[in-house]
Assembly symmetry: C2
Homo-oligomer: 222 residues x 2
DNA sequence: GGCGTTGTTGTGCAAGTGTATAAATAGCCT
DNA sequence: AGGCTATTTATACACTTGCACAACAACGCC
C-alpha cells in the first residue's frame, strides 16, 4: 500500500515564489542576454531562457507578447548599459578637457567595457541590423550619440589649445577617434590576452593625440 | 476522361541536372552565406539553404557530414575572400611604400570591402567566437595575418623616411592602424550613406599619417 | 541503345520550436 | 483564517528542424 498515503507524491507541482513585475522582467531580460551570449540567437529558445531565469517557459508570454519582443527589449537594455557605461567616464569634473578625453579612452579600453561576453552580444545583434530596420535605427542612434559626445570633448580639447576648427574638421576628428576606440575595443575583446594591461588604452591615447595634433604629454598630468 | 492519358502528371518528379562536385559545394556555400546574411544563423535552415541553391534539402547531407560542417566551411570561405581582397591592394608594384599604404587603406574603405552584407556575415559569425574555439582561432589567425601585413608596410614606410623604429613601436603602430581601419570599416558598413564617397578613406589616410608622424602630402603623388 | 553508377529527389521521423490555454497556488486584503 | 486574484506551472498543439533512407533518373561508358 505505498500508493495511498505517500508522503512524497511524485507528481508534486513545482514550488514557486511571486516576484515583483519589474524584477521578473529584468531577470528574464538578463537570462535572455546570457543565453544569446552563450549559444547565439539560434540557441536562445524560450525554454533555455526560462530555465536560466529559474521559471518555466510559459511565464515568458505572461510578461512579453512574444519571444521577439523579449529579444528587442534585451537588445535595448544591452545598448543602454553600454552607452551609459561609456559616457560615465565623461562626467569627471575638475579635470582639463585633455584629461577627460584620456579618461574617456581609458575607460572604454578596459574592463568592464572590454569584455568578450558584451562583444559577443553586440556582434550577434548588430549582425541582424542589415535585415532588421528596428535594430539598424537603434544602432544608428547609439552611434551618433556616442560620436557627438566625442565631438564635444574634442571641441573642448582643441579650444583649450586655442585652436578653432571648423565643423567639417571637427566631424572628421570625431569619426576618426570613434574608429580608433571601436577598433581597439574589438581587438581587446577578441584577443585581450595578447595585450598587457593598459596597453590598449595607451595606444589609443597616443593615436588620438596624434590625430588631434597634440604634443605628447611630457611628464605626467596637467 | 482527363484522368487516363494526362500529358502532365501532377506527381511529376522534379527535373534536375548533375553538377560537378566543386560547383555544387560552392553553390551550397554561397547559398549558406546568403541565408545567414539575410536571416541570421537562426534562419539558415537546411531547407532555406537548399531552396536558395536550387536543390532539395537532402542533397546537403550528400556533400557535407552535417549542417555544422557546412557552416564551418562557409565561414572559412568568407574569411578567405575577405583577407584575399584586403591583401590584394598591397601587391602594387612600382609604388612608394607610402603610396602602397594609402592604396591599401583606400581599398579597405570602399566597396566591395565596405559592404553591409559582408559585415552582417562577419558580425554574425564572430559573435560566436566567444563560445566556439574553432571560430575564435580562425579569427585570431586572420587578424594576425592582417596585422602582420600592416606592420610590414609600416616598416617600409618608416624606412623610406629614414626612421628606425624598434619592434615595440612597430607593433603599436600596427595595432593602432589596424584599429583605425577596422573602426572606419564598421562605420562605413553600418552607416555608409552618412559619408560621401571617398570620405572614409581620406579620414583613414590622414589618421594613419598622423599616427606615423608623417608630414601631410603637399600637392599630390610621390 | 541499354546499363550501371551515383547525384538527386521525396518522404518519413523524432526532437525541439513558439504559442495557447487550463489548472494550481502564493500572497495580499479584509 | 479564508477567499480573490493574478502569477506561475504544466500540458497540449501545430509547426519546423536536422537527419535517415529508399526510390528515382541523369549521365558516362560499353
Amino acid at each position: 500500500m505505498p500508493d495511498a498515503a505517500d508522503p512524497a507524491p511524485m507528481n508534486a507541482r513545482r514550488k514557486f515564489r511571486r516576484e515583483g513585475e519589474e524584477r521578473r522582467r529584468q531577470d528574464l531580460i538578463d537570462a535572455t542576454l546570457d543565453s544569446v551570449a552563450e549559444h547565439g540567437l539560434e540557441g536562445a529558445t524560450v525554454r533555455t531562457i526560462a530555465l536560466r531565469a529559474g521559471v518555466t517557459a510559459g511565464l515568458i508570454r505572461h510578461y512579453f507578447p512574444g519571444k521577439e519582443d523579449l529579444l528587442q527589449e534585451a537588445y535595448a537594455a544591452l545598448m543602454g548599459r553600454m552607452t551609459e557605461q561609456a559616457k560615465a567616464a565623461l562626467v569627471m569634473e575638475d579635470a582639463s578637457p585633455r584629461q577627460r578625453l584620456a579618461a574617456f579612452v581609458t575607460a572604454n579600453l578596459n574592463a568592464p567595457i572590454i569584455d568578450q561576453r558584451v562583444f559577443s552580444l553586440w556582434a550577434t545583434f548588430i549582425g541582424r541590423a542589415g535585415a532588421d530596420p528596428t535594430l539598424a535605427r537603434a544602432h544608428r542612434e547609439g552611434y551618433l550619440g556616442f560620436r557627438n559626445e566625442v565631438e564635444a570633448v574634442v571641441a573642448e580639447v582643441l579650444a583649450a589649445e586655442r585652436r578653432k576648427p571648423d565643423a567639417a574638421e571637427l566631424r572628421h576628428h570625431a569619426i576618426a577617434i570613434n574608429a580608433i576606440i571601436d577598433g581597439l575595443w574589438i581587438e581587446g575583446c577578441l584577443a585581450g590576452e595578447m595585450f598587457s594591461p593598459g596597453e590598449l588604452a595607451a595606444i589609443g591615447i597616443k593615436a588620438i593625440e596624434a590625430e588631434l595634433g597634440l604634443a605628447p604629454e611630457q611628464g605626467g598630468n596637467q
